[in-house]
Amino acid sequence: MTEKVKSETREILSKLVNNSGAMTAILITKQGSIVADAGETSYLNITAMAALVAGMFSATREVARMVGENEFSILLQQGKQRHIHISLITDEIMMVIVFEDYNRIGQVRHEARKCGELLTASLAPSQEDVSSAKDVSEPQFKEYALNLIDRIFQG
């Protein structure tokens, strides 16, 4: 992803956080990896959060199928002080928004929907990304990785 697209994605997420009054917005893959984040994240273990939310979303998808839906595109978890809004952005990526004032749920939904379209375009891997990945020498990458693995997992 180019620097331009990278800053675009962050900008979209930051705008969402500002416009909706949310604390945090995180983009994660369905496999539980983080794509990007904005807002306050110091109170969160976002790596663990991504894994858990991805698991939760997958489980909910199966529940959806049981009742004849392909998937539920939005999940909302309401707490006492903090709430989580999760929405599907693309087939592979979902957005998690953490917010405090439940009265803002309408605004959160609106901003999430608005950002979804912008992000879909922004996140499609460009040809430049693919060529940049190809610049990495695969044999060299593998050799380094295998050496590291040997060192890390000593018996």
Partner: protein
């Protein structure tokens, strides 16, 4: 396929510990977590029941380090082993890059091992993963019990040729690192940029 984040220049692989209930999957993961340097590991999350049995999954991220300009990470998962958690197991397998199958060496659990392995192969097929070529390592755990299942018995029943096999006593850490090392190597060797 691993997840490549071009934006952050990160490559994330997913490794899954699979196997029947109480075979020692979480014990394997906990030992690895304990042995790794602090800067290489994230917090371990264990979602278990009151009886210490995994309910949904256990998880921790492991940082391999920077390679060719990319930060490389292995996200390590276990699945719940009980037969009635089949749906969870299937979900967690989604997007996996490699599997460590932890078999219980107790002869009374032989059929349970075979059943779970066969179900795993079915789940792989549903994600269009080819069980013949997908990186899987077989670990015979609990080798300290009396009259353990003989090595080769599972491979013979399941028609597995050439699968890497390790013996372990995960509660003492024996064989745990050898198993994860082999599984990680297989995942990297299969990786294509």
């Amino acid at each position: 396929m691993p997840f490549i984040n071009y934006q952050e220049r990160e490559i994330t692989f997913k490794l899954v510990y699979y196997g029947p209930g109480m075979s020692g999957k979480t014990t394997n993961l906990m030992y690895i977590h304990k042995m790794l340097d602090t800067e290489r590991k994230g917090e371990m999350i264990i979602l278990d029941t009151e009886e210490d049995r995994t309910l949904f999954f256990d998880f921790f991220p492991m940082e391999l380090g920077e390679i060719a300009g990319y930060n490389v990470r292995f996200n390590m998962y276990t699945v719940p082993g009980q037969v009635y958690y089949e749906a969870s197991r299937k979900l967690i397998l989604d997007g996996a890059d490699g599997v460590i199958f932890v078999a219980d060496s107790d002869p009374l659990r032989f059929e349970a091992n075979l059943e779970l392995y066969r179900m795993m192969e079915q789940n792989m097929l549903s994600y269009e993963m080819d069980p013949q070529t997908f990186p899987v390592v077989l670990q015979y755990n609990k080798r300290d019990i009396e009259d353990p299942i003989p090595l080769g018995a599972m491979e013979e029943q399941l028609g597995l040729n050439g699968i890497p096999v390790f013996e372990s006593v995960a509660v003492r850490g024996e064989g745990v690192m050898d198993t994860i090392r082999k599984a990680s190597q297989m995942v990297i060797e299969r990786f294509q940029l």
